[in-house]
Symmetry: D2
Subunit: 134 residues, 4 copies
Protein backbone atom coordinates (compact mmCIF):
# COMPACT_ATOMS: atom_id res chain seq x y z
CA UNK A 1 0.00 0.00 0.00
CA UNK A 2 1.59 3.28 -1.05
CA UNK A 3 1.60 6.29 1.14
CA UNK A 4 -0.46 9.28 0.11
CA UNK A 5 1.67 12.22 -0.98
CA UNK A 6 1.09 15.93 -0.42
CA UNK A 7 2.77 18.29 -2.89
CA UNK A 8 3.07 22.02 -3.52
CA UNK A 9 4.87 24.05 -6.15
CA UNK A 10 7.31 26.73 -5.04
CA UNK A 11 9.89 28.94 -6.73
CA UNK A 12 13.37 29.94 -5.58
CA UNK A 13 13.60 33.55 -4.41
CA UNK A 14 16.83 35.22 -5.52
CA UNK A 15 17.76 36.28 -1.97
CA UNK A 16 17.81 32.60 -0.98
CA UNK A 17 20.90 32.07 -3.15
CA UNK A 18 24.37 32.74 -1.83
CA UNK A 19 27.67 33.81 -3.34
CA UNK A 20 28.05 30.42 -5.04
CA UNK A 21 24.89 31.34 -7.00
CA UNK A 22 22.94 28.41 -5.55
CA UNK A 23 20.30 28.11 -2.86
CA UNK A 24 21.93 28.17 0.59
CA UNK A 25 21.51 24.82 2.39
CA UNK A 26 19.56 26.27 5.28
CA UNK A 27 16.76 27.35 2.95
CA UNK A 28 15.89 23.73 2.17
CA UNK A 29 14.92 23.40 5.83
CA UNK A 30 12.69 26.44 5.33
CA UNK A 31 11.15 24.84 2.23
CA UNK A 32 10.33 21.67 4.17
CA UNK A 33 8.82 23.74 7.00
CA UNK A 34 6.62 25.68 4.57
CA UNK A 35 5.49 22.39 3.00
CA UNK A 36 4.61 20.81 6.38
CA UNK A 37 2.68 23.90 7.44
CA UNK A 38 0.78 23.99 4.12
CA UNK A 39 0.10 20.27 4.57
CA UNK A 40 -1.25 20.85 8.08
CA UNK A 41 -3.33 23.79 6.87
CA UNK A 42 -4.83 21.57 4.13
CA UNK A 43 -6.01 19.31 6.96
CA UNK A 44 -7.45 22.19 8.95
CA UNK A 45 -4.52 22.45 11.36
CA UNK A 46 -3.14 25.95 11.95
CA UNK A 47 0.39 26.20 13.30
CA UNK A 48 -0.56 29.47 15.00
CA UNK A 49 -3.69 27.97 16.60
CA UNK A 50 -1.74 24.91 17.78
CA UNK A 51 0.71 27.22 19.55
CA UNK A 52 -2.25 29.01 21.16
CA UNK A 53 -3.61 25.63 22.38
CA UNK A 54 -0.22 24.77 23.94
CA UNK A 55 0.53 22.18 21.25
CA UNK A 56 3.97 22.76 19.74
CA UNK A 57 5.35 20.33 17.19
CA UNK A 58 9.16 20.67 17.33
CA UNK A 59 11.81 19.25 15.02
CA UNK A 60 13.98 16.77 16.95
CA UNK A 61 16.07 15.63 13.98
CA UNK A 62 16.59 16.82 10.42
CA UNK A 63 18.58 14.67 7.99
CA UNK A 64 19.01 16.34 4.62
CA UNK A 65 20.64 14.82 1.54
CA UNK A 66 21.60 17.37 -1.07
CA UNK A 67 21.72 16.12 -4.67
CA UNK A 68 21.28 18.88 -7.24
CA UNK A 69 21.46 22.60 -6.55
CA UNK A 70 18.56 24.93 -7.26
CA UNK A 71 19.39 28.42 -8.55
CA UNK A 72 17.54 31.76 -8.59
CA UNK A 73 14.02 31.68 -10.05
CA UNK A 74 13.90 27.86 -10.40
CA UNK A 75 10.38 26.46 -9.96
CA UNK A 76 10.36 23.27 -7.87
CA UNK A 77 7.98 20.68 -6.46
CA UNK A 78 8.08 20.02 -2.74
CA UNK A 79 6.31 16.84 -1.61
CA UNK A 80 5.98 14.87 1.62
CA UNK A 81 4.72 11.61 3.08
CA UNK A 82 4.32 11.00 6.79
CA UNK A 83 4.60 8.02 9.14
CA UNK A 84 4.10 7.40 12.85
CA UNK A 85 7.17 5.97 14.64
CA UNK A 86 6.59 5.50 18.36
CA UNK A 87 6.16 8.88 19.97
CA UNK A 88 7.51 10.67 16.88
CA UNK A 89 6.10 11.68 13.52
CA UNK A 90 8.48 11.26 10.58
CA UNK A 91 8.06 13.40 7.49
CA UNK A 92 9.84 12.31 4.33
CA UNK A 93 10.31 15.31 2.06
CA UNK A 94 11.45 15.37 -1.55
CA UNK A 95 12.32 18.53 -3.44
CA UNK A 96 12.46 18.18 -7.24
CA UNK A 97 13.38 20.76 -9.86
CA UNK A 98 10.30 21.28 -12.00
CA UNK A 99 12.04 21.62 -15.36
CA UNK A 100 13.48 18.08 -15.41
CA UNK A 101 12.31 16.32 -12.23
CA UNK A 102 15.87 16.15 -10.84
CA UNK A 103 15.88 15.41 -7.09
CA UNK A 104 17.50 18.38 -5.35
CA UNK A 105 17.04 17.35 -1.74
CA UNK A 106 15.69 14.35 0.17
CA UNK A 107 14.98 15.00 3.84
CA UNK A 108 13.75 13.05 6.84
CA UNK A 109 12.32 15.36 9.45
CA UNK A 110 11.51 13.89 12.85
CA UNK A 111 8.88 15.74 14.85
CA UNK A 112 8.29 15.52 18.59
CA UNK A 113 5.12 17.03 19.99
CA UNK A 114 5.14 19.17 23.09
CA UNK A 115 1.85 19.67 24.89
CA UNK A 116 2.16 22.49 27.41
CA UNK A 117 5.92 22.06 27.19
CA UNK A 118 5.93 18.29 27.88
CA UNK A 119 6.68 15.52 25.36
CA UNK A 120 3.50 13.81 24.17
CA UNK A 121 2.54 11.34 21.43
CA UNK A 122 0.48 14.13 19.90
CA UNK A 123 -2.45 11.86 19.00
CA UNK A 124 -4.20 15.07 18.01
CA UNK A 125 -2.24 14.90 14.76
CA UNK A 126 -2.93 11.21 14.02
CA UNK A 127 -6.65 11.79 13.76
CA UNK A 128 -6.15 14.81 11.48
CA UNK A 129 -3.57 12.99 9.30
CA UNK A 130 -5.40 9.64 9.15
CA UNK A 131 -5.53 9.61 5.33
CA UNK A 132 -1.75 9.98 5.22
CA UNK A 133 -0.51 7.77 8.08
CA UNK A 134 -0.92 4.22 6.75
Amino acid sequence: MTKKTFEIEMKVRDYECDTQGIVNNANYLHYTEVTRHEFMESLGISFKECHGLGIDPVVSRADLHYKTSLTGGDPFLSSLTVERKGAKLIFHHTIRRKSDGAVCCDAWIEIAVLVNGKLSRGDYFDEKMKDYIV
Copy 2:
Protein backbone atom coordinates in the same frame (compact mmCIF):
# COMPACT_ATOMS: atom_id res chain seq x y z
CA MET B 1 26.46 69.12 22.62
CA THR B 2 27.23 65.94 20.74
CA LYS B 3 25.15 62.84 21.11
CA LYS B 4 26.69 59.84 22.81
CA THR B 5 27.36 56.97 20.44
CA PHE B 6 27.01 53.24 21.03
CA GLU B 7 29.10 50.97 18.81
CA ILE B 8 29.72 47.27 18.28
CA GLU B 9 31.92 45.33 15.90
CA MET B 10 30.38 42.66 13.70
CA LYS B 11 31.50 40.55 10.76
CA VAL B 12 29.61 39.58 7.60
CA ARG B 13 28.50 35.95 7.54
CA ASP B 14 28.89 34.36 4.11
CA TYR B 15 25.25 33.24 3.96
CA GLU B 16 24.22 36.90 4.21
CA CYS B 17 25.65 37.54 0.73
CA ASP B 18 23.60 36.92 -2.38
CA THR B 19 24.36 35.93 -5.96
CA GLN B 20 25.88 39.37 -6.61
CA GLY B 21 28.50 38.45 -3.98
CA ILE B 22 27.45 41.31 -1.70
CA VAL B 23 25.40 41.49 1.50
CA ASN B 24 21.68 41.38 0.65
CA ASN B 25 19.96 44.67 1.53
CA ALA B 26 17.58 43.11 4.03
CA ASN B 27 20.50 42.05 6.22
CA TYR B 28 21.39 45.67 7.00
CA LEU B 29 18.02 45.88 8.75
CA HIS B 30 19.06 42.81 10.74
CA TYR B 31 22.40 44.46 11.60
CA THR B 32 20.62 47.56 12.90
CA GLU B 33 18.23 45.38 14.95
CA VAL B 34 21.13 43.48 16.51
CA THR B 35 22.84 46.78 17.34
CA ARG B 36 19.71 48.26 18.99
CA HIS B 37 19.16 45.11 21.03
CA GLU B 38 22.83 45.07 22.15
CA PHE B 39 22.46 48.76 23.00
CA MET B 40 19.34 48.06 25.06
CA GLU B 41 21.05 45.12 26.76
CA SER B 42 24.01 47.37 27.67
CA LEU B 43 21.46 49.55 29.50
CA GLY B 44 19.90 46.60 31.28
CA ILE B 45 16.89 46.33 28.93
CA SER B 46 16.09 42.84 27.65
CA PHE B 47 13.99 42.63 24.48
CA LYS B 48 12.62 39.29 25.72
CA GLU B 49 11.71 40.70 29.16
CA CYS B 50 10.06 43.76 27.59
CA HIS B 51 7.84 41.45 25.54
CA GLY B 52 6.96 39.58 28.74
CA LEU B 53 6.01 42.90 30.41
CA GLY B 54 3.73 43.76 27.48
CA ILE B 55 6.13 46.45 26.21
CA ASP B 56 6.86 45.96 22.50
CA PRO B 57 9.00 48.48 20.64
CA VAL B 58 8.03 48.21 16.96
CA VAL B 59 9.66 49.74 13.91
CA SER B 60 7.25 52.21 12.28
CA ARG B 61 9.67 53.47 9.61
CA ALA B 62 13.04 52.38 8.30
CA ASP B 63 14.92 54.62 5.86
CA LEU B 64 18.16 53.05 4.66
CA HIS B 65 20.76 54.68 2.44
CA TYR B 66 23.17 52.21 0.86
CA LYS B 67 26.62 53.56 -0.02
CA THR B 68 29.28 50.83 -0.22
CA SER B 69 28.64 47.10 -0.33
CA LEU B 70 30.02 44.73 2.27
CA THR B 71 31.16 41.29 1.11
CA GLY B 72 31.66 37.92 2.82
CA GLY B 73 33.86 37.98 5.92
CA ASP B 74 34.16 41.79 6.07
CA PRO B 75 34.49 43.12 9.63
CA PHE B 76 32.38 46.25 10.18
CA LEU B 77 31.49 48.76 12.88
CA SER B 78 27.82 49.34 13.62
CA SER B 79 27.03 52.45 15.67
CA LEU B 80 23.93 54.35 16.74
CA THR B 81 22.72 57.53 18.37
CA VAL B 82 19.16 58.05 19.59
CA GLU B 83 16.76 60.96 19.91
CA ARG B 84 13.23 61.50 21.23
CA LYS B 85 10.79 62.92 18.64
CA GLY B 86 7.28 63.30 20.05
CA ALA B 87 5.87 59.86 20.73
CA LYS B 88 8.62 58.18 18.72
CA LEU B 89 12.24 57.24 19.32
CA ILE B 90 14.55 57.78 16.35
CA PHE B 91 17.70 55.71 16.03
CA HIS B 92 20.38 56.90 13.63
CA HIS B 93 22.54 53.98 12.61
CA THR B 94 25.82 54.03 10.70
CA ILE B 95 27.54 50.92 9.37
CA ARG B 96 31.19 51.37 8.41
CA ARG B 97 33.62 48.87 6.88
CA LYS B 98 36.39 48.34 9.40
CA SER B 99 39.30 48.11 6.94
CA ASP B 100 38.95 51.69 5.61
CA GLY B 101 36.07 53.34 7.48
CA ALA B 102 33.92 53.56 4.33
CA VAL B 103 30.25 54.19 5.16
CA CYS B 104 28.26 51.21 3.90
CA CYS B 105 24.82 52.14 5.16
CA ASP B 106 23.18 55.08 6.97
CA ALA B 107 19.79 54.32 8.45
CA TRP B 108 17.07 56.18 10.36
CA ILE B 109 14.90 53.78 12.27
CA GLU B 110 11.73 55.14 13.86
CA ILE B 111 10.40 53.20 16.80
CA ALA B 112 6.88 53.30 18.21
CA VAL B 113 6.24 51.71 21.58
CA LEU B 114 3.24 49.48 22.17
CA VAL B 115 2.22 48.88 25.78
CA ASN B 116 -0.25 46.01 25.96
CA GLY B 117 -0.87 46.49 22.26
CA LYS B 118 -1.62 50.25 22.48
CA LEU B 119 0.62 53.11 21.27
CA SER B 120 2.44 54.80 24.14
CA ARG B 121 5.28 57.30 24.54
CA GLY B 122 7.28 54.53 26.15
CA ASP B 123 8.75 56.75 28.86
CA TYR B 124 10.18 53.54 30.26
CA PHE B 125 12.93 53.82 27.64
CA ASP B 126 13.73 57.53 28.24
CA GLU B 127 14.81 56.87 31.80
CA LYS B 128 17.00 53.93 30.74
CA MET B 129 18.51 55.86 27.81
CA LYS B 130 19.00 59.17 29.63
CA ASP B 131 22.75 59.28 28.91
CA TYR B 132 22.04 58.99 25.20
CA ILE B 133 18.93 61.16 24.68
CA VAL B 134 20.23 64.75 24.88
Copy 3:
Protein backbone atom coordinates in the same frame (compact mmCIF):
# COMPACT_ATOMS: atom_id res chain seq x y z
CA MET C 1 -2.74 59.44 -16.34
CA THR C 2 -2.47 56.70 -13.76
CA LYS C 3 0.52 54.47 -13.52
CA LYS C 4 0.13 50.82 -14.44
CA THR C 5 0.36 48.52 -11.45
CA PHE C 6 1.96 45.07 -11.20
CA GLU C 7 0.66 42.82 -8.43
CA ILE C 8 1.29 39.34 -7.06
CA GLU C 9 -0.26 37.39 -4.21
CA MET C 10 2.02 35.96 -1.53
CA LYS C 11 1.54 34.32 1.85
CA VAL C 12 3.51 34.77 5.07
CA ARG C 13 5.75 31.82 5.89
CA ASP C 14 5.79 31.02 9.61
CA TYR C 15 9.59 31.23 9.87
CA GLU C 16 9.36 34.87 8.74
CA CYS C 17 7.68 35.76 12.03
CA ASP C 18 9.70 36.58 15.12
CA THR C 19 9.16 36.25 18.86
CA GLN C 20 6.55 39.04 18.79
CA GLY C 21 4.49 36.71 16.55
CA ILE C 22 4.63 39.16 13.63
CA VAL C 23 6.62 39.30 10.41
CA ASN C 24 10.13 40.61 11.10
CA ASN C 25 10.71 44.00 9.43
CA ALA C 26 13.56 42.79 7.25
CA ASN C 27 11.24 40.35 5.48
CA TYR C 28 9.23 43.21 3.95
CA LEU C 29 12.41 44.12 2.05
CA HIS C 30 12.52 40.51 0.86
CA TYR C 31 8.86 40.72 -0.21
CA THR C 32 9.56 43.86 -2.26
CA GLU C 33 12.61 42.19 -3.85
CA VAL C 34 10.56 39.12 -4.82
CA THR C 35 7.89 41.40 -6.32
CA ARG C 36 10.41 43.41 -8.37
CA HIS C 37 12.05 40.23 -9.67
CA GLU C 38 8.65 38.73 -10.59
CA PHE C 39 7.81 42.03 -12.27
CA MET C 40 11.06 41.97 -14.26
CA GLU C 41 10.48 38.32 -15.17
CA SER C 42 7.00 39.21 -16.44
CA LEU C 43 8.74 41.62 -18.83
CA GLY C 44 11.27 39.02 -19.94
CA ILE C 45 14.09 40.30 -17.72
CA SER C 46 15.94 37.66 -15.70
CA PHE C 47 17.87 38.89 -12.68
CA LYS C 48 20.32 35.99 -13.17
CA GLU C 49 20.83 36.81 -16.87
CA CYS C 50 21.31 40.51 -16.10
CA HIS C 51 24.09 39.60 -13.67
CA GLY C 52 25.66 37.44 -16.41
CA LEU C 53 25.53 40.42 -18.82
CA GLY C 54 27.29 42.63 -16.25
CA ILE C 55 24.09 44.59 -15.52
CA ASP C 56 23.43 44.77 -11.78
CA PRO C 57 20.51 46.77 -10.45
CA VAL C 58 21.37 47.69 -6.86
CA VAL C 59 19.21 49.24 -4.16
CA SER C 60 20.59 52.67 -3.24
CA ARG C 61 17.79 53.64 -0.84
CA ALA C 62 14.91 51.81 0.83
CA ASP C 63 12.31 53.80 2.76
CA LEU C 64 9.75 51.56 4.41
CA HIS C 65 6.65 52.69 6.32
CA TYR C 66 5.15 49.99 8.50
CA LYS C 67 1.41 50.28 9.18
CA THR C 68 -0.20 46.96 10.10
CA SER C 69 1.64 43.78 11.04
CA LEU C 70 1.23 40.56 9.09
CA THR C 71 1.24 37.30 11.04
CA GLY C 72 1.94 33.64 10.18
CA GLY C 73 -0.03 32.27 7.23
CA ASP C 74 -1.57 35.64 6.23
CA PRO C 75 -2.17 35.95 2.48
CA PHE C 76 -1.20 39.38 1.16
CA LEU C 77 -1.09 41.36 -2.09
CA SER C 78 2.21 42.92 -3.07
CA SER C 79 1.99 45.56 -5.80
CA LEU C 80 4.33 48.08 -7.39
CA THR C 81 4.48 51.04 -9.75
CA VAL C 82 7.71 52.40 -11.19
CA GLU C 83 9.03 55.79 -12.27
CA ARG C 84 12.22 57.16 -13.81
CA LYS C 85 13.95 59.86 -11.72
CA GLY C 86 17.19 61.05 -13.29
CA ALA C 87 19.67 58.21 -13.26
CA LYS C 88 17.56 56.22 -10.79
CA LEU C 89 14.50 54.01 -11.04
CA ILE C 90 12.01 54.41 -8.18
CA PHE C 91 9.72 51.55 -7.26
CA HIS C 92 6.71 52.31 -5.10
CA HIS C 93 5.60 49.14 -3.35
CA THR C 94 2.42 48.55 -1.38
CA ILE C 95 1.79 45.44 0.70
CA ARG C 96 -1.86 44.86 1.68
CA ARG C 97 -3.36 42.12 3.84
CA LYS C 98 -5.70 40.14 1.61
CA SER C 99 -8.45 39.54 4.16
CA ASP C 100 -9.36 43.22 4.63
CA GLY C 101 -7.14 45.26 2.31
CA ALA C 102 -5.30 46.88 5.25
CA VAL C 103 -2.03 48.49 4.15
CA CYS C 104 0.81 46.71 5.97
CA CYS C 105 3.79 48.42 4.40
CA ASP C 106 4.41 51.23 1.92
CA ALA C 107 7.92 51.34 0.51
CA TRP C 108 9.93 53.49 -1.87
CA ILE C 109 12.86 51.58 -3.28
CA GLU C 110 15.45 53.53 -5.26
CA ILE C 111 17.48 51.51 -7.73
CA ALA C 112 20.81 52.44 -9.28
CA VAL C 113 22.06 50.43 -12.21
CA LEU C 114 25.64 49.23 -12.41
CA VAL C 115 26.93 48.20 -15.82
CA ASN C 116 30.22 46.35 -15.45
CA GLY C 117 30.51 47.84 -12.00
CA LYS C 118 29.97 51.47 -13.07
CA LEU C 119 26.88 53.63 -12.46
CA SER C 120 24.71 53.93 -15.56
CA ARG C 121 21.21 55.19 -16.39
CA GLY C 122 20.31 51.62 -17.22
CA ASP C 123 18.29 52.56 -20.34
CA TYR C 124 18.07 48.83 -20.91
CA PHE C 125 15.29 48.77 -18.33
CA ASP C 126 13.33 51.76 -19.72
CA GLU C 127 12.66 50.00 -22.98
CA LYS C 128 11.54 46.83 -21.19
CA MET C 129 9.36 48.74 -18.69
CA LYS C 130 7.90 51.21 -21.20
CA ASP C 131 4.29 50.24 -20.40
CA TYR C 132 4.91 51.05 -16.73
CA ILE C 133 7.11 54.17 -16.84
CA VAL C 134 4.72 56.98 -17.77
Copy 4:
Protein backbone atom coordinates in the same frame (compact mmCIF):
# COMPACT_ATOMS: atom_id res chain seq x y z
CA MET D 1 44.25 10.06 20.26
CA THR D 2 41.60 12.72 20.60
CA LYS D 3 40.69 15.01 17.78
CA LYS D 4 41.59 18.66 18.05
CA THR D 5 38.57 20.90 18.53
CA PHE D 6 37.91 24.36 17.11
CA GLU D 7 35.46 26.53 19.03
CA ILE D 8 33.92 29.98 18.82
CA GLU D 9 31.44 31.83 20.98
CA MET D 10 28.31 33.25 19.41
CA LYS D 11 25.07 34.80 20.66
CA VAL D 12 21.52 34.31 19.43
CA ARG D 13 20.15 37.28 17.49
CA ASP D 14 16.50 37.99 18.31
CA TYR D 15 15.41 37.85 14.65
CA GLU D 16 16.64 34.23 14.54
CA CYS D 17 13.80 33.22 16.88
CA ASP D 18 10.36 32.38 15.57
CA THR D 19 6.83 32.61 16.94
CA GLN D 20 7.54 29.77 19.39
CA GLY D 21 10.14 32.10 20.95
CA ILE D 22 13.00 29.73 20.13
CA VAL D 23 15.71 29.71 17.46
CA ASN D 24 14.26 28.44 14.17
CA ASN D 25 15.84 25.11 13.16
CA ALA D 26 17.31 26.43 9.93
CA ASN D 27 19.49 28.87 11.85
CA TYR D 28 21.49 26.02 13.40
CA LEU D 29 22.66 25.21 9.87
CA HIS D 30 23.73 28.84 9.58
CA TYR D 31 25.59 28.59 12.90
CA THR D 32 27.49 25.52 11.70
CA GLU D 33 28.34 27.29 8.42
CA VAL D 34 29.68 30.33 10.26
CA THR D 35 31.77 28.04 12.48
CA ARG D 36 33.26 26.13 9.53
CA HIS D 37 34.11 29.36 7.73
CA GLU D 38 35.73 30.82 10.87
CA PHE D 39 37.62 27.54 11.24
CA MET D 40 38.84 27.73 7.65
CA GLU D 41 39.78 31.37 8.08
CA SER D 42 41.81 30.45 11.18
CA LEU D 43 43.80 28.13 8.90
CA GLY D 44 44.28 30.79 6.26
CA ILE D 45 41.53 29.52 3.96
CA SER D 46 39.10 32.15 2.65
CA PHE D 47 35.74 30.89 1.42
CA LYS D 48 35.62 33.82 -1.01
CA GLU D 49 39.11 33.11 -2.37
CA CYS D 50 38.33 29.40 -2.74
CA HIS D 51 35.34 30.30 -4.88
CA GLY D 52 37.61 32.55 -6.98
CA LEU D 53 40.04 29.63 -7.45
CA GLY D 54 37.19 27.39 -8.65
CA ILE D 55 37.22 25.36 -5.41
CA ASP D 56 33.73 25.09 -3.95
CA PRO D 57 33.12 22.98 -0.86
CA VAL D 58 29.44 22.01 -0.92
CA VAL D 59 27.32 20.36 1.74
CA SER D 60 26.18 16.93 0.51
CA ARG D 61 24.47 15.87 3.75
CA ALA D 62 23.44 17.58 6.97
CA ASP D 63 22.18 15.52 9.88
CA LEU D 64 21.08 17.67 12.81
CA HIS D 65 19.93 16.43 16.21
CA TYR D 66 18.07 19.04 18.22
CA LYS D 67 18.26 18.67 22.01
CA THR D 68 17.64 21.94 23.87
CA SER D 69 16.28 25.13 22.36
CA LEU D 70 18.19 28.38 22.41
CA THR D 71 16.23 31.60 22.90
CA GLY D 72 16.86 35.28 22.12
CA GLY D 73 20.14 36.69 23.42
CA ASP D 74 21.52 33.32 24.62
CA PRO D 75 25.32 33.09 24.37
CA PHE D 76 26.45 29.71 23.05
CA LEU D 77 29.63 27.80 22.18
CA SER D 78 29.90 26.33 18.72
CA SER D 79 32.65 23.74 18.25
CA LEU D 80 33.74 21.31 15.56
CA THR D 81 36.06 18.42 14.82
CA VAL D 82 36.79 17.14 11.33
CA GLU D 83 37.60 13.80 9.73
CA ARG D 84 38.42 12.54 6.23
CA LYS D 85 36.05 9.83 4.96
CA GLY D 86 36.90 8.73 1.41
CA ALA D 87 36.26 11.61 -0.93
CA LYS D 88 34.30 13.50 1.72
CA LEU D 89 35.15 15.66 4.72
CA ILE D 90 32.93 15.15 7.75
CA PHE D 91 32.49 17.94 10.26
CA HIS D 92 31.05 17.08 13.66
CA HIS D 93 29.52 20.18 15.19
CA THR D 94 28.30 20.67 18.74
CA ILE D 95 26.36 23.71 19.89
CA ARG D 96 26.19 24.21 23.67
CA ARG D 97 24.37 26.87 25.68
CA LYS D 98 27.01 28.84 27.51
CA SER D 99 25.13 29.34 30.78
CA ASP D 100 24.95 25.63 31.68
CA GLY D 101 26.75 23.69 28.95
CA ALA D 102 23.50 22.02 27.77
CA VAL D 103 23.89 20.51 24.29
CA CYS D 104 21.43 22.30 21.99
CA CYS D 105 22.35 20.69 18.69
CA ASP D 106 24.69 17.94 17.46
CA ALA D 107 25.29 17.96 13.72
CA TRP D 108 27.21 15.89 11.19
CA ILE D 109 27.90 17.89 8.07
CA GLU D 110 29.31 16.03 5.06
CA ILE D 111 31.23 18.14 2.60
CA ALA D 112 32.00 17.30 -1.01
CA VAL D 113 34.55 19.41 -2.83
CA LEU D 114 33.93 20.67 -6.36
CA VAL D 115 36.96 21.81 -8.35
CA ASN D 116 35.83 23.71 -11.43
CA GLY D 117 32.40 22.14 -10.96
CA LYS D 118 33.65 18.52 -10.78
CA LEU D 119 33.79 16.30 -7.67
CA SER D 120 37.30 16.03 -6.25
CA ARG D 121 38.91 14.72 -3.06
CA GLY D 122 39.88 18.30 -2.28
CA ASP D 123 43.35 17.39 -1.02
CA TYR D 124 43.91 21.12 -0.85
CA PHE D 125 42.00 21.07 2.45
CA ASP D 126 43.84 18.09 3.99
CA GLU D 127 47.13 19.91 3.97
CA LYS D 128 45.59 23.02 5.53
CA MET D 129 43.67 21.00 8.14
CA LYS D 130 46.50 18.57 8.98
CA ASP D 131 46.47 19.45 12.70
CA TYR D 132 42.78 18.59 12.88
CA ILE D 133 42.46 15.51 10.63
CA VAL D 134 43.96 12.66 12.70
